[in-house]
């Protein structure tokens, strides 16, 4: 089975490339944001600032029932 894009191949390829780039930017932004927030939390906790509950701000160990 072969794929032929005909005379409008550039429009089709540009559409798929744009979708790939935008989705990659979204994923990259979310991953970098997560790293940035966890680093800031770690720095704050290292400097002695903790939550009122005394638990780590990154603690997600609460039991799910």
């Amino acid at each position: 089975m072969t794929m032929s894009l005909g005379p409008y191949a550039s429009f089709i390829m540009t559409s798929y490339a744009a979708a790939a780039i935008v989705v990659a930017i979204l994923i990259g932004w979310i991953v970098l944001d997560y790293r940035s927030q966890t680093r800031r939390l770690r720095d704050l906790e290292r400097s002695g600032i903790t939550r009122r509950s005394g638990r780590s701000a990154m603690d997600t160990s609460r039991t799910i029932t």
């Binding site: 089975m1 794929m3 032929s4 894009l5 005909g6 005379p7 409008y8 191949a9 429009f11 089709i12 540009t14 559409s15 798929y16 744009a18 979708a19 935008v22 989705v23 930017i25 979204l26 994923i27 932004w29 979310i30 944001d33 997560y34 927030q37 966890t38 800031r40 939390l41 704050l44 906790e45 400097s47 600032i49 903790t50 939550r51 701000a57 990154m58 603690d59 997600t60 160990s61 609460r62 039991t63 799910i64 029932t65």
Partner: protein, 263 residues
């Protein structure tokens, strides 16, 4: 576990950490299947190979409205029930919705040039989607303009609910006005008018993009919860610094008055 239990951010973080890898895997698998089916779908007798653009344009157009719908429900959660995660959900969805709307406009434009002979036409469907895109940007600007997240959440929730009026306008614009954009061919009374060879890849891509949104949204919500924790710890740090400098200034004044008294 009931839905309300998820209102606890810590519980949400724990649950989402478990679910996220499965969501991501399902998204990748469905996107791979959808892209393969789209690549080998036959050419349309009128559109030729440009019908392949529809397999990404339609899911993005559907998501541009779906994400605003999700934000509207979350806004109700903020205004009516004051749900702890409602404004987190609304805020996290806005940039993702803006990206999908941008892609819907861009891919539609790239399809329009060879098929309509123009990249853009100020018809009702295109204009109402452009307005939706601008509303996403406005909402993101509003979130950034107000420092206090809870105050920003209420203002953003009102704007989101007002903006939801645009959703039926977008959906029915092709019926209410004489537009260049074709009328609905998938979600319409009497069933889809598409042949199965186009309908199946289109539906697979629509589900894959919806899963992509859910995955990105859950991940972005986790980031937003962590961002709020950073903010509250920074405020605690600032108040400690202010308190210790006040105590320091107070003891200096006390010492100074003692020295004056002694003199």
């Amino acid at each position: 576990m009931t839905l309300i239990d998820l209102a606890n951010p810590t519980r949400f973080l724990a649950l989402s950490a478990r679910v996220l890898p499965w969501l991501a895997a399902a998204t990748v698998i469905l996107l791979t299947i959808g892209l393969y089916q789209s690549a080998y779908a036959p050419d349309d007798y009128q559109q030729g190979a440009t019908v392949k653009i529809m397999f990404i344009h339609v899911p993005n157009a559907w998501l541009s409205m779906f994400v605003w719908g999700v934000m509207s429900i979350a806004s109700l959660g903020t205004l009516v029930w004051r749900h702890p995660l409602a404004d987190v959900a609304a805020k996290a969805a806005a940039p993702i919705g803006a990206a999908f709307t941008f892609l819907a406009l861009l891919t539609g434009s790239l399809w329009g040039r060879p098929m309509w002979g123009t990249y853009w036409e100020w018809d009702a469907r295109l204009t109402s989607v452009l307005i939706l895109f601008l509303m996403y940007l406005g909402l993101m600007a509003l979130w950034r303009a107000v420092d206090d997240p809870s105050r920003a959440a209420r203002a953003a929730a009102v704007l989101t609910l007002v903006g939801a009026i645009n959703l039926p306008i977008i959906k029915f614009s092709v019926d209410w006005w004489n537009t260049l954009h074709q009328p609905a061919s998938v979600m319409r009374m009497g069933g889809s008018t598409l042949d199965k060879s186009f309908l199946i890849p289109l539906l697979v891509m629509a589900v894959a993009f919806t899963l992509l949104f859910v995955t990105l949204h859950v991940a972005a919500m986790r980031n937003e919860i962590l961002r709020r924790r950073v903010r509250s710890l920074q405020m605690m740090q600032a108040s400690r610094i202010a308190f210790s400098s006040e105590v320091g200034a107070g003891s200096r004044e006390e010492n100074a008055s003692k020295e004056v008294g002694a003199a």
